[in-house]
Amino acid sequence: MRTHALLFVMLAGCMQAQVTYERLLHAAEEPQNWLTYSGSYLSQRHSALTQITPANVKNLELQWMSQARSLSTFEATPLVVNGIMYTVQAPNDVVALDAATGRMFWIYRYTPSADARPCCGRVNRGLAILGDTLYMGTIDAHLLAIDAKNGHVLWNVRPAGASPASGYAYTHAPLVIKDKVIMGVAGGEYGIQGFIAAFDAGTGKEVWRFNTVPHPGEPGNETWGGKSWEQGGASVWVTGSYDSDTNQTYWGIGNPGPDWNGDPRPGDNLYSCSVVALDADTGKLKWHYQFSPHNEYDYDAVQIPVLVEMEWQGRPRKLMIWANRNGFYYVLDRATGQFLLGKPFVQVNWANGFDERGRPMQVAGKAPTKEGTLIMPGNQGGTNYYSSSYSPHTGLFYIPTWENTASLYVKAEQEFTEGEQYSGGGPRGPVGPIGGRGLPYFGKENEGFGAVRAIDAKTGEKKWDFKMTQVTEAGILTTASDVLFSGGRDGYVFALDARNGALLWRASVGGPVQSSPITYMVGGRQYVAINAGSSTLVYALRQ
């Protein structure tokens, strides 16, 4: 009898260690862990932890740091499960660390194929976990299942047609829903045929596929003139979100190809620069909204779909809020995709409003030319892949913002060659200095600057700015105690009062922050982890 009881306790312990789908579904209810890329399926990057407060955050001190052998900049968000941190050292080495001390348990080293050609850096944004298995996409378009206990590979698949030599890659953290691992392919600068696919978590077998560039016979293919869909791009490089009530998973889609010359691809070019809502079981399209039809400014819609419940016109409503690279802030009904609000959150000159169906009204003449056309925001947009944060406590939406930026958009003729960048021109600028990332910076504010920008999620009205001298590629984390964490290109991490933007704490970390912070708790102590350069730094209150 006693033996049976002990066995039960041991089994219960094992079960607790397993990250079940139920735990992922209720991830926000165990804030001591960080179980998904954005902290929960709602992707608010908001934690219920309250040990660190506006009053005591000044007492944060470095607890440990982990330096990688890799020189590539870290963009990964770590996962933390029961005191163990799992993260990715760029491009695709996975490590398991003691989350309280940084002590390494194991490292899995992956050598990408020499054919890998991610357009914009050999980066990875993180892992997913289900049970005792970690999942990672690689820059040569493989999806790996890795044993979380020892770092051994359980399976390794590459989806059909996703040749790295043709520009296909995986850079974002997978999203696990139920028994499936969902991934979208990167490679929008190579004229790939984009898609999102779900894989069986146990075997790696592809279960469904949604073509982000519709093939002939699929709805939306008619929005690509001629055979232009064949080089349509529409990549995915940031993790999506999930609403279990509607069983819809939401994904932001990247630019069409070629980027800066729309002549070869007449039409709206669905589903580029859009958000798509897919049935999580089948991959079937439930609805879509295109932020930037027929885009020629490289305004990927690869931001995190942030799901919120807030009062809208007098009644509670399930919404999706979105600060887009194109410079507009959006509110959509996440059940139906209905457009509810579109408002600039930075200076914009390419569109001057929306029609009744939510289609942006493009300003005449604001298209790339051979001589160049000045467009605001600039090519990197008003924001980009960096995680924003929503605090239900303040009702504010916090956006890593690039303000006062512009680019001269120049278009060029280009024949498509498989495996070669298919851009059709390029941006000149941004106007003003670009630099930093470990080098001196000389820019003026009117040449562009970065900010943590807080807006009222209901109205899009700006509430406050925390300005940075340089632009920023750091994501944002908020907590229920109204502390906001972020960083910037100029090598700082800092904490702000989420209510008013007041600076509460900062530390010089000596390298650009191009990832998003997380928080977790081990042994009753709250930690904050953030990457800078190719290191992970972890802070906690002084004891």
Partner: protein, 250 residues
Amino acid sequence: MRDVTICLLLLLPGLALAQHQFDPHDAEAGATRFMNVCASCHGPDGNQVPGIDLGHGRFVHATSDQQLVDIIIHGISGGGMPANKMTESQAYMIVAYLHFLAESGSKNTSTGDAARGKVVFEGKGGCLACHRVMGRGSRLGPDLSEIGSLRRSVDLETSILNPDAAVAASNRFVRVVTNTGATITGRLLNQDTFGVALIDPQENLRSFDKSDLREFTFLDHSPMPSFRGKLTDENLSDLVSYLTTLRGAN
């Protein structure tokens, strides 16, 4: 697009690279390929990635044309440079265009006497009071030891006559006023959200927390005086010719 039909290339003295024989049409084709493949990251002039200036032969990893070709095709493992699917001859076209950029950037059209120009520079012009050349002169203003490989003679002449016409961001001057009332003017060396670094007229390296400053402003005008009317036409031509000979220690 630049006009790349003029004869350029071949063995350019300004580039510290082992050279390769190019056909002019290579550079023209390379310009198109550069704009489509490279410019989105490196910028149209090849200087958008900090620390790298492709248009002036300033590379981090390559010391020869062949190495450039290898990097274009295979990328840089561990760096941000991706591999590109193209043939060696296509990559060489891009390298040919880079040679063209370097040549067009340092083209000397001045007809003056460089030896006399050096005398003007060090004497009547008083340039060493602010500028430094090969270890001589002040560090306050821009070091001109390589200016001949960075700027065209027409641009140099413009800067001498109208110093505000084009000031590189790295040559900007600022003024700070501390909370205690001290005012310091100098050339900006770096800035970030919380601090400022500059070199002052006494060549001291100064660092300030912005919280200790009541004022931090960029100067509207370059501290360099205009030499319009202060130099003869011959002085000016000689001075420009001298500056175009300054191409670094090598």
